[in-house]
């Protein structure tokens, strides 16, 4: 028995499920492996710098936030603010497996990339201060602080060997800088006396230096290091006059260059690799086009034109009238209505009940043909009795098969139903042969 519609309807949702599962898996993979979510979480946390760009824009200072996929040209930028969330530049992804609250590395960056960033344009590096607990709890607690020893180890990797860090107690320390009250919680400063040669304190803060600048070998600009990231991060900007001071600090540091300040939240470089030999300029003129009309292309075009002309000639002339549109609406409406109803019956998923109804109706039809209408519930029994007088075995088998389908078809599995229907049909064929058409 052919059962194509059933197969089609059953296999209907399967492709969508597979595609949906693949899409879900792809999205999960994208989210979990690309670190997009964790990156955004860092930027929005109290230790992130998402607010800085908006704040600078509000003060008419052009600022560009880094984008995961789009990179501006270095020449279009004046100054870079680079928050570091990595305490070890030579170890990759060290803390990802542990408790996020204890993580000291939230965004890995390599020493080579950091050095390149420092070489490109004047850059203010915000040294790390808080660990992952600050992101998770958003509470500035003593236990969320990264130990100073780790930060000092990081300064050694930044060619600031020997510099000492000093950290304040658990309260806000306020100092006035450039007419603004600058307040920092657990203020973290450089010990100015320990700054290496070539470095100098740019912004004093209490007894220490909040921002230091150093000369870079082979570069014509200096690199700046902020000992405490809270002067520019989300939670620090909201404290005292820090925000106003941040504007002034960045304006001073970038100097006269009016290009945007780049808030670099990405560990990647702006230009990954400079391949000057890949781009070639070609001079394209009409000679290039003319080559398509020289031998052997002339042959190809000529053959193509002849073939097209021949096909068009044949297609343009028709033998006899246009064919009428198949099946006018009125003539096929009843057939279409039956087909639509049949399809709805199949889609309702009650094949068993449908078969049961069909077999009962066929039995009644046989009885009507033998005894006339209006027999009621006795029709089936009277017909089987009539059949039994002619062929008892056939009547017994046919009656049992029909009764089985009428009673049990709704609960049968599709394979079982098909088998029972096949048996019923072969018996029905024998009955019809004996008894006349159904």
């Amino acid at each position: 028995m052919s059962d194509n519609p059933a197969q089609t309807s059953r296999s209907g949702p399967a492709p969508f499920l597979v595609v949906g599962a693949l899409l879900l898996a792809g999205l999960l993979l994208l989210v979990t492996q690309s670190g997009i979510l964790s990156d955004r979480q860092v930027d929005r946390s109290p230790i992130g710098v998402q607010a800085l760009g908006a704040w600078l824009d509000a003060n008419d200072i052009a600022a560009t936030n880094s984008h995961p996929r789009l990179s501006p040209a270095v020449a279009d930028l004046s100054f870079r603010v680079l928050p570091l969330y990595d305490t070890n530049l030579v170890r990759f992804d060290a803390d990802r497996d542990g408790d996020p609250a204890d993580a000291e590395t939230m965004r890995d960056i390599t020493a080579a990339n950091l050095r390149t960033k420092l070489d490109e344009i004047p850059t203010l590096v915000l040294l790390p201060k808080w660990n992952g607990a600050m992101i998770e709890t958003e509470v500035a607690h003593e236990q969320s602080l990264i130990p100073l020893a780790r930060i000092e180890a990081l300064t050694r990797q930044l060619d600031l060997a020997g510099v000492e860090m000093v950290r304040g107690v658990a309260e806000f320390y306020e100092d006035r800088q450039g007419g603004h009250d600058l307040a920092l919680f657990h203020a973290q400063v450089f010990n100015p006396s320990t700054l290496p040669d070539g470095c100098r304190a740019e912004v004093p803060y209490g007894l220490g230096a909040l921002v230091a600048s150093c000369t870079l070998a082979g570069a014509n600009h200096r690199a700046y290091f902020a000992s405490d990231p809270d002067i520019l991060n989300n939670h620090g900007l909201a404290v005292a006059d820090n925000a106003a001071y941040a504007v002034r600090l960045l304006t001073d540091l970038r100097g006269t260059d009016a290009n945007p300040i780049y808030i670099d939240r990405s560990p990647d470089l702006l230009t990954r690799m400079d391949r000057v030999d890949e781009r070639q300029e070609y001079d394209r003129g009409f000679e290039e086009l003319e080559r398509f009309f020289e031998y052997p292309f002339t042959l190809f075009w000529a053959a193509l034109l002849i073939v097209l002309a021949m096909l068009f000639w044949r297609g343009a002339l028709r033998f006899g009238p246009l064919r009428q549109a198949a099946g006018q609406g009125r003539n096929i409406s009843k057939r279409a209505a039956i087909a639509a109803k049949a399809r709805l019956l199949r889609l309702s998923g009650n094949d068993g009940r449908m078969v049961s109804d069909f077999v009962r109706a066929q039995l009644q039809d046989l009885a009507h043909r033998s005894f006339g209408r209006d027999l009621g519930s006795e029709a089936e029994a009277r017909f089987l009795a009539l059949l039994a007088r002619r062929d008892p075995d056939l009547a017994r088998d046919f009656g049992a098969s029909a009764r089985n389908l009428i009673d049990n078809a709704p609960g049968m599995a599709p394979v079982q139903l098909n088998r029972a229907l096949g048996q019923y049909h072969s018996l029905l064929t024998k009955v019809v042969e004996h008894h006349g058409p159904v």
Binding site: D3, L299, W313, P321, K334, L345, A361
Partner: protein
């Protein structure tokens, strides 16, 4: 004339060869040109050897009238001024929707040396009105088969397609009415009707109650009264021409079947001595032809029915049947040819037939689609077929429910297939006459 498939294949092969020459030979232009030149020369020779369309003459003739649903023959002749005809000639006709050739393309194969060939094309007359043949197209191949010649000739032949009155003309109706006319039918009522017809000599075997004792005493011999069915009854043929009647069953639309049966009944009514009127309704009541003695009515009904076309609007049974009820002034047999879709849409039809049945005898004629029966009894048992059978059965059951309801209201129903319609209707008319139901 257009290129044949053979020429197109040759051109494609030559184009492929040209491309190969262009790819593999540096100076293949001449070679490729030579190949194409050979083809051109062969094509010109082919054209020179072929039969030119100008040398052919075509004549065709079509009968001036035909009955709808019947097949007429287009007789024609193709002659050549040269001594022979092409070996194989295909013929197609351009026609309107009222005609349809039985085969789309007919093929004539003249013998070699035969300069003239006659053809006969069967045309099915599908709709009433004037059918038009506008063009005759021929197709034959050239001598080498590189071209197909497609000459056409304007025909401008028309045929008037009238309702099928063949049963009237060939005596079929008369022979069916003979039992009623000559008393051969086995009457249910004693006396074969209540209207006095004549006196006959009493013969042994005749019903003694038919003896007219008063006249027997006067004639001194036993004479019996012979009665016959009452005459001069009114028969109103009421034909619905709404959109449902435009559905095609078999070759004809339901409306055409109804008109054919109406004309047959008109003729039978004439033979039975009754007066026949005609009424037509669709979205609103249309023409009413008052009852006239049968043979005079036949001409009027025939003339009106030729013009009758199915509307695209739904039938308004209330308006139509109420109007009819208003114009009838004495008890009549109202034969309603109409259709319905399901029990819900038939509500108004049932209500209005019940109203009209209070004063008149109503015979409701509805056509059954044999295709529904075949759908209900599928030969192969697949789930799709069973679903169609169940849905077709539901449709038929709804139909049957409406007819049962009409019967309970005392309305006579004739539910039959188109091929049995005329005979069934006449038979029912004879029954009504013999039972004196009017």
């Amino acid at each position: 004339m257009r290129p044949s498939r053979r020429l197109v294949a040759l051109v494609l092969a030559l184009a492929a060869a040209t491309v190969l020459i262009g790819v593999f030979r540096l100076d293949g232009g001449v070679m490729a040109g030579a190949l194409w030149a050979v083809l051109v020369v062969v094509a010109i020779c082919d054209l020179a050897l072929s039969h030119a369309a100008k040398t052919l003459q075509v004549e065709a003739d079509l009968p001036s009238t035909g009955y709808v649903g019947h097949t007429v023959t287009l007789d024609g002749r193709i002659a050549s001024r040269r001594r022979s005809l092409p070996r194989r000639i295909e013929i197609r006709l351009t026609h309107d929707g009222k005609l349809a050739p039985e085969t789309e393309t007919s093929i004539e194969t003249p013998r070699p040396g035969q300069a003239e060939v006659a053809f006969r094309l069967a045309l099915v007359l599908r709709e009433r009105g004037v059918g038009h043949l506008s063009r005759l197209s021929l197709r034959y191949g050239s001598a080498l088969g590189l071209f197909e010649v497609l000459p056409t000739w304007p025909l401008d032949l028309s045929i008037e397609i009238v309702p099928d009155v063949a049963p009237v003309l060939n005596g079929e109706i008369q022979s069916q009415m003979l039992p009623l006319l000559d008393g051969l039918k086995d009457m249910k009522l004693r006396g074969e009707g209540s209207e006095f017809h004549q006196l006959r000599d009493f013969q042994p075997g005749m019903d003694p109650r038919s003896i007219d004792w008063k006249r027997s005493a006067r004639m001194r011999d036993l004479v019996a009264r012979e009665t016959r069915a009452e005459r001069n009854h009114q028969i109103i043929l009421s034909v619905d021409s709404g959109h449902l009647m435009a559905e095609r069953i078999g070759k004809l639309r339901k409306l055409d079947h109804a008109i054919n049966a109406s004309l047959a009944l008109t003729w039978a009514g004439a033979l039975g001595g009754d007066n026949v009127g005609f009424f037509n309704f669709a979205s609103r009541p249309q023409q009413f032809i008052p009852p006239r003695p049968g043979r005079r009515a036949f001409g009027h009904v025939q003339k009106r029915s030729i013009e009758l076309e199915a509307e695209t609007a739904e039938t308004n049974h209330t308006l139509g049947l109420t109007h009819l009820n208003g114009v009838l002034n004495r008890r009549s047999l109202v034969v309603v040819f109409s259709d319905f879709v399901d029990s819900v849409t038939a509500e108004l039809l049932v209500e209005n037939l019940a109203v009209i049945a209070r004063q008149h005898l109503v015979l409701y004629v509805v056509l059954r689609d044999p295709e529904l029966d075949s759908l209900m009894r599928p030969t192969d048992i697949s789930m799709g077929r069973i679903a169609e059978a169940v849905s077709a059965r539901q449709m038929l059951q709804e139909r049957q429910a409406v007819l049962d309801r009409l019967r309970r209201l005392g309305i006579l129903c004739l539910d039959t297939t188109p091929d049995r319609l005329t005979a069934g209707l006449i038979s029912r008319y004879i029954d009504i006459k013999s039972q004196e139901l009017i």
